[in-house]
Symmetry: C2
Subunit: 229 residues, 2 copies
DNA sequence: TTTATTAATGTTGATTTTACACTTAATAAA
DNA sequence: TTTATTAAGTGTAAAATCAACATTAATAAA
């Protein structure tokens, strides 16, 4: 009988987290050395099993917190992976989640303590199971979304320069952007606050700092604006 | 211990299918009257449980076939739903899939025999569990994708008129489109074959029939072209 | 005060998008 | 056979957007 509950097969459900970060060196991803068998000692995404009384979104948050101490990170569900032997121990369906975070804001001691490590997306080690596929999928999604709506603010410090923003977009899209055109597009969205304050770290002249205007952004989102970079 | 397999909770995995169709009346969705408890007799998406030796994509195909006799339908995974009590009988995580099909090509006796029924997306009954949410989610995704890449050919008969194509897009996007601009955009993609043959059903003059040129379409897809309607 | 360094800024031509209305072909009815 | 009817088919001009491009400004260091 097709739909009888009693005869249906159960499976383990896992959640794997793809955490993107950005700093002066470019776009990175947060990985851990797996501390249990199988594949102990190999590099892996942060993952864990879904609990009986937990929804997937919540599990993703818990798992990220367990491995990194990070909290209040907004993650988005990406895809469910279900190849029969993707986990050699037991049939496990894994749902991937991804997030964007600001490395400098979050790097602190936390990640050290929990031995997670940032890798440039161009210099990642081979990962266990189907995690490489998950990462590629997440990068595609990130690029896609970035080319449509301005995300990326999560990846920068609260105050940032136009150059930082530009470099972030270049890293995500992995192509060069024209500085002047980029700036005028961003300005035309009117979702940034230009501060009086300058960042003097990068040049003699100093460059203005900006903050992200969340209210205006939310307002614009309603009319689903598109950012064509 | 966070990651021990033995202590992890298992759950049932379901797949639910959202099948979109289009005919002269507009955009529709295929539903069934549920024939087992709970919620027996209520309208529902076509769903079933994932088997031990089956991947999700494959389960979606099997379930659709079981309820409708349809086969060779390409479906795409949408989202995993995991609210604790979304299924009142037992903890069940459901992964939704959606597809677009051509009602006239597929309506035959099959769907009758299996008592699935088409509903206009504007006149759907209330569905069981969280199926309404799944449908809304799928409609959003369909609109989004349609505005980016030309899908929709799956929803039309092999030979179709420009008017049919236009009305399909209008139904999916639920907005009016300018006829001349639409036609010239579609033509500029060069993915249709204009036939000698005319459809005389709709007017004295008759309107040319077109077929979809799959080779050219695949070729274009590689350069990810965008259709801005 | 000169030099070196990076930030800031605007214009133009090309392309794309949008808005908009009349003519044509085929047939049915008179 | 003439006329009326119906939807199909077609083009243009104005507006908006995009892409390419180089010089000046501010400051610290020498």
């Amino acid at each position: 009988m097709l739909n009888s509950y009693s005869s249906a097969d159960k499976a383990l459900l896992a959640v794997d987290c793809i955490i993107f970060g950005f700093d002066h060196e470019g776009l990175k991803i947060l990985l851990i050395k797996r501390d249990f068998e199988p594949e102990k000692g190999k590099w892996s995404l942060m993952g864990g099993f879904l609990k009986r009384d937990e929804i997937l979104d919540r599990a993703a948050i818990r798992i990220l917190n367990t491995y990194t101490g990070l909290h209040d990170i907004y993650m988005e569900q990406l895809y469910a992976y279900s190849e029969i032997d993707r986990d050699p121990v037991e049939r496990t369906i894994s749902v991937s989640y991804y997030a964007l975070i600001n490395i400098e804001n979050h790097n602190a001691e936390l990640i050290q303590n929990y031995h997670a490590k940032w890798f440039s997306i161009n210099e990642m080690p081979k990962l266990i199971f189907d995690h490489d596929e998950m990462v590629q999928h997440a990068i595609r999604r990130l690029r896609y979304r970035t080319s449509i709506k301005p995300i990326g603010f999560e990846l920068l410090p609260e105050k940032f320069t136009m150059r930082q923003l530009l470099e972030l977009y270049e890293a995500i899209l992995s192509k060069e952007l024209d500085k002047r055109n980029f700036i005028s597009k961003i300005n035309s969205l009117e979702i940034l606050n230009k501060l009086e304050e300058k960042d003097m770290g990068s040049s003699r002249k100093g460059s203005y700092l900006y903050t992200f205007n969340k209210e205006k952004y939310e307002e614009k989102l309603l009319n689903d604006f598109v950012l064509n970079l």
